[in-house]
Subunit: 387 residues, 2 copies
């Protein structure tokens, strides 16, 4: 391991929303400029951007060059990283290696996604391309139907109910109601979830993250240079990715996200930390079932104990670990290829004490967990407040 | 610059063809297994794959995880890199930083593309998404029409003719006829080009690279470890990417690929080499005009002098630099997101003296130039025979 250390120097977000008046480049431009304007870096050497659906929904590939051009970064190096819903986390990992290698000093990264008001294609079908096209999508599986099977299985094995899952959505909305970047910034009750339309039994509308547009930008640089350009930055102390079978029918255990288990293990080891050291985590709650599995597989609670711990307040500020103070995918929103970048940016903001009304007190170490597909990949980033 | 040095340990190719009986995963699997079987590496730590059109033409995103699963690499880290037609070269650059950073030791990279027999969408339209969707594609521009404007302008400024350009296609087919991986492995004459159907005046069918399917795999590892696993490997001595405006109407000079000029300058400096040191080059001749501009902008001849030098044999083995002994995009074929990976793999084969009938004698240093969009980005890799 002969790396140089890497810092997140600054971040910028757009509110997740239906941004019908903003194009893909305008969305990322808004986030990137917010990040750039917080620092006085001498140059931007590369742009590594996460995105999943621009080809389908904006008729646009090649968005690395597109965005570098729009930001006035030409002739800097640029490319896109895609790992389905994990694109944002994967882009941060790619940008991390770009800086750690010594090739690039100042790297713009993050993610952008425009899921509403697309020029062509169908959003649900486009998202389905994260599954196995030949063995899942072709047979009519959608992400919600695949996850509905997992949720049914969880309820059967661990004797839990739809109501138990609803409580995670309630907590997410309670958190997101404080976050000005959230797409659905309002509180809900257990009844809101239970009475919402059934999408794919047992997943109802309020078990699902909404479809939205958004962009999150992060500016990475060598840790040793960071103090020159900002008073508030964080160190990336652990970062890792891992894969599992793309097709969920190939897995030995439907109730374990093995990519999360392995990526977390790698990231904890790299950071020389354990789950107990994490003060705040942004986890990938595409559906309430995904949130429950994620918290368990990150090591924050025993398998099957998620709901009991949730009821005890373990996942709120002051508990074992503050889960998704941003509101998570459920309330903050899930612009798929940008989601992982929102998560890392949110953790950076928490550690820099910049999260205003949704701030977790005294957070020093935080973790972001971003999933691609139905757990076919996970990208984990562990950040520590730089002192 | 605190990098560790990186080697290309082995490569694997499929013939470029209409592979109607092979899926995307089978194509890359064939190439990857060929690369893996040449070595005895202890593990594969990551898969970084280049691809452009799988979402449109195979209904498949998330191919990092898909291919890692198919290759039995799970739970290794995986993601896709996309930079339009430059995806393959960009993936090699991403894989290079992954190894150079110290994060990963053995990285599978390369590219895969399936352009024929797609499940949906239209290949020409899908390729058009490399251009600016809002300011070029929307108005009906295709890649061939954009390049036709550039070719017309070149002929006007430098007083050359369609016949002059045809001679590059003739040389490419002469080279490709010796390459068993080539899609169009047969010689042609100037008349073949001149009498072929006009696609977008002055670009005729035989000025264009064909549409095909293919995969190229490269296995990268730290240079210091390479001798343990292979007798024949090459060192990546220079590697760089650069961008230009995505929209060609924004450029100050239509006849300069500025992304190529800048990326080449960066890669030459990193390698401490000049164009004179390059024995063999694989350049991005999507159209004959793109080939001419590329050779000039890489510094192999003065601006506007390409055709005179071509007629003098400067770009054949024994000349100034052997250009595209593989047959280039024109004859070897252009599976877009895989093309850059074919180029780097071809150079590695040349330097390891593994190119059989299309071998350039005594090649020690080679360069691959891979373009994304109409020159909106270029990725350059310079390799040297390891001694």
């Amino acid at each position: 391991m002969i790396m140089r250390k890497v810092a997140v120097l600054s971040t910028g977000l757009t509110k997740v929303d239906k941004h019908w008046r903003k194009s893909l480049r305008e969305l990322y431009g808004e986030a990137a400029k917010a990040a750039i304007n917080q620092t006085k870096v001498p140059q931007l050497d590369a742009l590594i951007i996460g995105n999943m659906c621009a080809s389908d929904l904006s008729d646009q590939n090649n968005i690395g060059a597109l965005l570098a051009d729009y930001l006035g970064m030409t002739p800097s190096m640029a490319y896109r990283i895609e790992a389905a819903c994990g694109s944002g986390g994967a882009a941060v990992l790619g940008a991390y290696t770009a800086v750690a290698s010594g090739m690039y000093d100042f790297v713009m990264t993050g993610g952008v996604e425009k899921l509403t008001d697309g020029v062509g294609g169908n959003t649900t079908y486009s998202l389905g391309k994260a599954a196995d096209a030949e063995f899942e999508l072709f047979y009519g599986s959608s992400f919600v139907s695949l996850n509905a099977m997992i949720m049914n299985h969880y309820m059967h094995v661990y004797h839990t109910s739809r109501e138990d899952f609803a409580d995670l959505a309630v907590l997410m909305h309670k958190n997101g109601a404080r976050n000005p970047y959230a797409q659905l910034p309002f509180p809900i009750t257990r009844d809101t979830v239970m009475n919402s339309d059934m999408i794919s039994d047992p997943i109802s509308l309020y078990d699902c993250a909404p479809v939205g547009d958004g962009a999150a930008a992060l500016l990475l640089c060598p840790l040793e240079d960071a103090p020159k350009y900002s008073d508030t930055f964080v160190e990336i102390v652990g970062i890792a990715g891992a894969t599992d079978t793309i097709n969920i029918s190939s897995r030995t255990d439907l109730l374990t996200l093995n990519s999360t288990v392995v990526a977390a293990d790698r990231a904890y080891k790299m950071a020389k930390l354990t789950p107990k050291d994490i003060d705040v985590a942004e986890i990938h709650d595409t559906f309430t079932i995904t949130g429950a599995l994620s918290v368990e597989d990150l090591g924050f609670c025993e398998k099957g104990k998620f709901h009991k711990m949730l009821a005890n307040g373990a996942f709120e500020a002051g508990g074992i670990v503050a889960i998704n103070p941003s509101g998570g995918l459920k309330s903050r929103g899930h612009p798929v290829g940008a989601t992982g970048a929102y998560q890392v940016a949110e953790i950076a903001m928490q550690l820099c004490n910049k999260a205003d009304k949704w701030q977790v007190p005294d957070a020093e170490v935080g973790l972001a967990q971003n999933i691609g597909g139905s757990g076919s990949s996970t990208y984990i980033t562990i950040l520590r407040r730089a002192r």
